[in-house]
Symmetry: C2
Subunit: 228 residues, 2 copies
DNA sequence: GCAAAAGTGTTCAATGTACACCCATGC
DNA sequence: GCATGGGTGTACATTGAACACTTTTGC
């Protein structure tokens, strides 16, 4: 083991900032650390990259371990490698961010090395975080906002069928600002990525709203443009 | 050493795609490998990240070793980590790209482990490259073009004082397309990043052109906007 | 005086922004 | 019938794109 200590240079991990919309808030998944350093602090879920998996696969695995979700939007964010970011050793982390739908997710703490809790936290009201994870989350919010200007990733936060008001709300939560209803609808409808359904919300106590879904065919043909 | 082989998981390097404009072409710096794998092939300059340096510093060091230049535009590009990208071991690379001025650069081969040559190559006419370096260069061209739409990074390729025609030419080389002279000038001049000098080119055999420089004060105040 | 590059404005189309009222439903 | 959120269109400003001629210099 001392041989290892002497020879090793770095460790490399992946941390995944997982966003969802829940209770009408933009939330991020955090895990509570069981051990030092930062025992008891909340952190972004992460883990070591296995020899046989590429970086995307490692991020997906971590996502799946915590949420049991796949088929989501996942994007490499940035690699953080300050020598002092990780007390006691040199750990470089390749950070990802993911957007998932909040319906039918059960968080799992099992199988988790050194984690006592897994929980959603409001993005705009975070606890003190371990390591440089605050910086990583801030950077991922910034990136998510940039993406939103050009591509419809907010869909990834919504259930399969959604109203335009719900879609607008998700944009507003991410951008943290109010948008104009008519301009918003004009923009997303001219984008030709929405499929208008002949279904309506089965009412609360007001006028039913038309449901839309994500047009996968159009989306895939535009993927090079939107997601590359 | 066998202990090392058994325990180690990954190695992490930085590769730096260094662009310049030289002979009226967009060029990229490549090194020729002396050893297997890919002996004799051209590759992007790179190297292992030292324990005490952060990622930007490692990229800067590699840049300086090859070109003896600092004070340049340098941006983290993407981290490439396919398990098969590096024959025989698992090497993850955090790629950067840099833009440098081509004047007063002498390339250095000395101090170079495993390198027999260092040379500029035309971006649009590259030799076969080692590893996944072709992919990395393509990705960096794409990123550089994206940046160019919003911020004036092409300055970084030019000498301190330059004409608008030279600036336009650098945009055209990066974007690989012709631009309209009047529209181009309108755009860069309204940007308020150029300082108009009372100096002119000391003529070849035509009308002298006004020189401009990069307005560092304005630039720094806009850095958050342009470069963050 | 002519070749060669520098310099200069206007028109049009498209896009983004501001803004207010009627509609369908549940109670 | 009224409260609640759903749905709709127009006018204006800003931005990007197309486009051609005059000016200054060296020879």
């Amino acid at each position: 083991m001392s041989t290892f200590q002497e020879i090793k240079t770095h460790e490399i991990t992946t941390d995944v900032v997982i966003f969802t919309i829940k209770n009408n808030k933009l939330q991020v998944l955090l895990v509570k650390r069981a051990n030092e350093p930062f025992k008891g602090r909340w952190a972004i879920p992460g883990g070591f990259i296995r020899l046989s998996e590429n970086l995307d696969a490692a991020a997906l695995r971590i996502l799946k371990e915590k949420t049991n979700v796949d088929n989501i939007y996942l994007e490499q964010l940035y690699t953080f490698g300050d020598p002092l970011r990780y007390p006691g050793s040199r750990v470089i982390t390749c950070a990802y961010f993911a957007l998932i739908r909040s319906d039918d997710i059960k968080l799992s703490v099992d199988n988790s090395q050194g984690i006592t809790e897994v929980q959603w936290h409001e993005v705009y009201n975070l606890p003190t975080l371990a390591y440089d994870h605050k910086e990583i989350i801030e950077y991922s919010i910034k990136r998510m906002r940039e993406r939103l200007e050009f591509c419809p990733i907010a869909f990834q936060l919504l259930p399969e069928k959604f109203t335009l008001t719900e879609l607008q709300k998700s944009y507003e939560l991410i951008l943290d600002m109010k948008l104009d209803k008519r301009n918003f609808r004009k923009k997303v409808l001219t984008g030709a990525i929405l499929k208008e359904l002949n279904e309506y919300t089965k009412v609360g106590s007001k006028r039913p709203a038309r449901l839309y879904s994500f047009d996968n065919i159009t989306l895939n043909s535009k993927r090079g443009h939107f997601f590359s």
